[in-house]
């Protein structure tokens, strides 16, 4: 029965995720042998959007805060990183520090105002704040380059001279990004299982009761919002090293994209959104090579998911596995399998 244990509970999807990460880590080996170097860049892009989608899951999947303005932090992180590298110093660590601190402060301020209201009002305020940043990026040409964006961001290096590696090297940047994503993922797992994280989940379930148990709910929500904003900013900062930064990173379509990715993967799992980002970008890439109307098809797929598989790919995987197991079990050991499936249901909660 040991082979069944692999499929037990939450571990099922989680192991798939680890396999996915491992496979991704081997991606550079196939460059120029199996595929062009475009796919190395593509893998990096998947990781960055995955990180961004994870930041969304922290507040949406674990705290129940529906923010429609995650682009604010992604864009802010991207601009802060790019401007630091262009204007201040060619140092990745300084760029990271400035992006994280700035996003943390801005998230605190946006959170301070937005978390006073709930539900749709919260969603709309976060959207409005993000749009304000979009307007600023668009209009403050001397700092942001306006609609032309920021060009010529230098590639920083990591390591201690003379042993340095340039992040301009796609291999180095890929592994650097992978390391950041893995680090943040495990920190986030730790976070959601910490006393703080458990309170967040209780807030998602019944905010009023948490308040009456003596927890300052707004403070907890705001901290979660700050953590999410900083991770989003980190993703944006990495994005600035990969791609070119213009005001579209702050437009509400960026928020739409990341929310679609997070839901497509499966909210409330942390790894689901990373898989969702990969699936989104992969389908986009695949579809756009056949048709310029890929948004139409992706939209249809997404609508199908919203209606029929709201738990995303992770949920679809679980349901499919359960059906397959049930099919297999209908001939052999029904009781045992039902037990396994039941355990899984509890573990999911």
């Amino acid at each position: 029965m040991t082979f069944l244990r692999v499929f037990r509970g939450r571990q099922g999807g989680y192991y798939c995720f680890l396999i996915f990460l491992f496979a991704l880590a081997l991606l550079p080996l196939g460059v120029d042998r199996l595929y062009s170097s475009f796919y190395l860049r593509f893998g990096t892009e998947m990781l960055i959007w995955g990180l961004f989608a994870l930041s969304v899951d922290l507040i949406m999947g674990y705290t129940g805060l529906v923010s429609l303005g995650p682009a604010a932090f992604f864009g802010l992180g991207a601009y802060a990183g790019a401007i630091t590298l262009l204007r201040l110093a060619d140092s990745i660590w300084l760029a990271l520090l400035i992006s994280l601190v700035l996003c943390g402060i801005v998230a605190w301020v946006i959170g301070y105002f937005s978390i006073r209201v709930k539900g749709i009002y919260f969603a709309m305020l976060t959207l409005a704040f993000a749009q304000i940043f979009y307007e600023i990026a668009f209009r403050w040409r001397s700092l942001t380059g306006g609609s032309d964006g920021l060009i010529g961001v230098p590639d920083p290096t990591i390591g201690i001279p003379p042993y340095t590696l340039s992040l301009g090297d796609p291999y180095v940047f890929f592994y650097f990004t992978l390391a950041v994503v893995i680090l943040v993922y495990f920190l986030s797992v730790r976070l959601v299982n910490s006393p703080f994280g458990r309170v967040l989940q209780a807030i998602q379930d019944n905010e009023e009761r948490v308040e009456f148990l003596g927890y300052p709910v707004r403070v907890f929500k705001r901290r979660a919002f700050v953590a999410s904003g900083m991770i989003g900013g980190l993703a944006g900062m990495l994005f600035a090293l990969l791609s070119f930064v213009d005001p579209s990173v702050l437009y509400w379509f960026t928020s739409v994209d990341v929310l679609v990715m997070a839901l497509l993967g499966g909210l409330g799992t942390l790894y689901g959104p990373i898989i969702g980002a990969a699936a989104f970008l992969f389908s986009r890439d695949l579809l756009s090579s056949y048709t310029e109307y890929w948004r139409l098809i992706l939209g249809l797929i997404f609508v199908w998911f919203v209606i029929f598989s709201p738990q995303g790919l992770v949920g679809l995987y679980r349901v499919t596995k359960r059906r397959l197991l049930a099919l297999w079990a209908s001939s052999s050991m029904p009781i045992l399998i039902n037990k396994v499936v039941d355990d899984e249901d509890h573990a999911d909660r």
Binding site: P195, V210, F212, L213, G214
Partner: protein, 253 residues
């Protein structure tokens, strides 16, 4: 102005008033609760009992008057700040964490008292003392065997016990129970009465209750409200022989 009586009062309500527009839901209400005392608040529907609870626990702010808990004013404080001072409530309608396990429901409540309750990178399941207290509390409310069930899967009566358990888990000095037996079968009512009797030893309790036999079995004192005002207060014997009370109940129901 302190009298002998107020010295060991854990809760003092003075000239408390709350209006909604022209309606006075609670009107110039005053009473005291001693530590260890169980006071039942009774009265016809719409008498202002739940409004009183909402005022004491911070869900509503008083229009005027004062509420003092352990000597300090708590009137108008946020619910979490009041709860932190050691005042817990259960709700008339179920107010649990429906998607969390029974264990996690209680664990989060127990955690509220822990020094590391908002720590970011320690493991919640490893918090010193929290696990043990949670198990102990589940034992007290008789739900140990359902610890791993999702709370929304419990029977109604068990969910009501869990409701009380959540309030109890924060180790309150004063417990407010809002109709803990509402909607229960006679058997469940009896079990809950026993449960309240067990847990209320040494604890100050304010209890809203419609079942008069539950009140008679548990209450040290009774406060009778009608149209937002206090019409009688005293021991069960004193109250049940009060003519105004009989009038309110006969005329008001």
């Amino acid at each position: 102005m302190k009298t002998m009586q107020t010295d060991n009062a854990i809760l003092q309500v003075r000239k408390l008033t709350r209006s909604f527009g022209r309606l006075l839901a609670v009107n110039n209400l005053g009473f005291e609760l001693k530590s260890g005392e169980l006071k039942a608040v009774i009265g016809p529907n719409g008498a202002g009992k739940t409004t009183l609870f909402n005022l004491i626990t911070g869900k509503l702010s008083p229009t005027s008057g004062d509420i003092r808990f352990q000597g300090g004013s708590i009137a108008g404080l946020a619910p979490h700040a009041i709860a932190q001072r050691g005042l817990a409530r259960s709700f008339q309608l179920l107010n649990l964490f429906p998607n969390l396990s029974v264990f996690e429901n209680v664990r989060v409540a127990v955690q509220a008292r822990h020094r590391l309750r908002s720590s970011l990178f320690t493991a919640a399941d490893g918090l010193k003392g929290v696990q043990g207290k949670t198990e102990e509390l589940l034992e007290r409310i008789g739900l140990s065997s359902y610890a791993d069930h999702q709370s929304s899967q419990l029977s109604y009566g068990d969910q009501r016990s869990l409701e009380i358990g959540l309030a109890l888990a924060t180790e309150p000095k004063l417990l407010l129970l809002d109709e803990p037996t509402s909607g229960m079968s006679p058997l469940e009512t009896q079990q809950t009465t026993q449960l309240i009797g067990r847990i209320s030893k040494g604890l100050a309790v304010l209890l809203i209750e419609h079942h008069i036999e539950v009140v008679m079995a548990l209450a040290d004192t009774i406060l009778v409200m009608h149209h937002g005002e206090k019409i009688a207060e005293g021991t069960p014997q004193q109250v049940s022989s009060d003519s105004k009370v009989q009038e309110a109940y006969l005329g008001g129901l």
